[in-house]
Symmetry: C2
């Protein structure tokens, strides 16, 4: 059942059917009605693939994130979905699992499938995907990468600010031995996240102890493992700061397992404020990131980019979104001055 069949049944040409389908040109009202009736009756569905091949757009956007199991990305995706739905675009979802090869593969696949644009959180700054994207001339926006060195759309969070605020909060509450759990960094020697921590330490004349700096996968397991290791090595600390709330949950889990009380024994502070953070036990103090907005804005930027693609002025934007400290119950003031 294709457009030719409908044309035949209506006694018109394919072109006319196409016209009513797309409301592209005027068609006599009665032929229009007739065609519509037939379409309805036989339940004809246009083949969007064929259309896309011809018109060179698919009305679909690819999004690739490193971990769809992390509520952070979930929230971002919700934001993306919201805007995209409004604009009539579908979304093709890919999960890179933090592995660059997969990321690269997906980007190619999406390009091959002719998505109109791509939104993604690159695994690293000089990710090859980025270069490919640029060379293929397909509109894209990146989000969540701490820093970018090239001219393209991006909506970002200042991760160094997050850790700076978090570290300061801990310090103000009398902590000095502050564990920091970062995500594995492939490319950068010091991540933005570390740099904010370091700055806060320096400003408060606290010496940096390398034994307090740890990297893990940004999830529950990662947070858990770090605490386990640190405990085993008898590295003393009173506060901990994690790259994402999920890692903080891992800290909670370890605390429960090893009989450490939060916040009595150790204070913990997260980063991103996932929806359930306030319902955790105890409610997690964290740095709130506008996750939904990150997604929404990314999508908005992308769609604008796509719709102005032909225009000469392709001015790219990078939007930096605000973060703020959310005080709950996982951080406690120390009287002993944090040693």
């Amino acid at each position: 059942m294709d457009i030719r069949d409908i044309a035949k049944m209506a006694g018109v040409s394919k072109a006319t059917v196409s016209r009513v389908l797309n409301e592209s040109e005027a068609v006599a009202e009665d032929t229009r009605k007739k065609i519509l009736a037939i379409i309805e009756e036989v339940g004809y569905l246009p083949n969007y693939l064929a259309r896309s091949l011809k018109v060179k757009n698919t009305k679909t956007i690819g999004v690739v994130v490193p971990d769809i199991g992390n509520p952070f990305y979930f929230e971002v995706i919700r934001g993306i979905e919201k805007l995209l739905d409004k604009k009539g675009f579908s979304i093709m979802l890919c999960n890179s699992d933090y592995i660059e090869k997969k990321e690269l593969r997906y980007i190619s696949l999406l390009a091959s499938k002719k998505v109109d644009g791509i939104i993604f959180a690159p695994s690293s700054e000089d990710s090859k995907s980025l270069k490919n994207l640029l060379s293929w001339d397909i509109p894209f926006v990146i989000f969540d990468l701490p820093q970018i060195n090239f001219n393209n759309n991006a909506v970002l969070i200042d991760h160094s600010l997050c850790s700076y605020i978090a570290t300061n909060h801990l310090i103000k509450n009398g902590h000095k031995r502050i564990l920091i759990i970062d995500a594995y960094r492939h490319m950068e020697v010091y991540s933005k996240f570390i740099s904010g921590y370091l700055r806060a330490l320096k400003e408060n004349n606290i010496e940096f102890d390398d034994a307090l700096f740890h990297e893990s996968t940004p999830d529950i397991k990662g947070g858990y493992n770090v605490i386990k290791k640190v405990l085993k090595n008898k590295i003393g600390f009173t506060g901990v700061l994690t790259i994402c709330d999920l890692a903080s949950v891992g800290v909670y889990k370890a605390a429960e397992k090893f009989n450490i009380k939060i916040p009595e024994d150790i204070s913990v502070i997260g980063n991103d404020d996932i929806p359930l953070a306030r319902y955790l036990c105890p409610p997690l103090t964290t740095i709130q990131q506008p996750k939904f907005l990150i997604g929404y804005k990314s999508a908005e930027l992308l769609i604008n980019n796509i719709q102005n693609k032909s225009s000469i002025i392709n001015d790219f934007k990078t939007i930096i979104l605000n973060v703020k400290l959310i005080e709950r119950d996982s951080v406690k003031r120390r009287q002993d001055n944090g040693n």
Copy 2:
């Protein structure tokens, strides 16, 4: 840059290039190498759209869920993604927001975009989408719908068993006034979820009080609102049972707001066991549903169906997955016999 260009540059025909691209037929090793080299050099990417139009498959699956913000669906999606990635399919994600019109629209769109199959959680049993899907002859599997009346692939949870187990658990702990928070039901007079509750009550000679039966949106807000209303109306209860964990979180929220202690004042039991349930305050007793598996199995069923589509024997399966009670700390034994 298309296949014709590559052919020209390599001094061969399009057919030959196509052959090396798809490894469909033998090609002389040196021409193969030459073509590959050119492809690599110029960064040629095949147009999958054109291919799909010809070969009549897109290697993409549509999935439509009612609320991507609910961790339940998220986990299901993770399962879907896992299997689909393994099988080389992309996923097109749609969010119906529990509104049937949107669901219908998305299903049509997906069909139009020629996805090879669809996985979805229908909003109701005689959803028009179901009928369309059947008539369009596109493979699909549904999940999570309490009951189905037609012959097609499905992977389900017995919701009446969930509520039965949950209610019994509350009763065994001395509760008699048990609030039940169900999702809005469009079509069914009594949902499966209610029926299990009713059965448990009856078996224990507890009379059903209509004032304890409530419907809400299956999310935090929904759970919160029910408790608020019930409190306002001074309806007494000691236990509450919700359609999903997220609604239980809403109960938690209301409890906090109105100064009710869980589990001292009221016991609550969830349904589905979202990943963070065990970290809530207090850890939530709930009925565990194999969410990831639901997704994985759904995808598996679908792919099998697609790959055997041409075969005469199209035997559909409905898989019913097990659930089990997970005891944590949100349910407490009552000494006063629950009145």
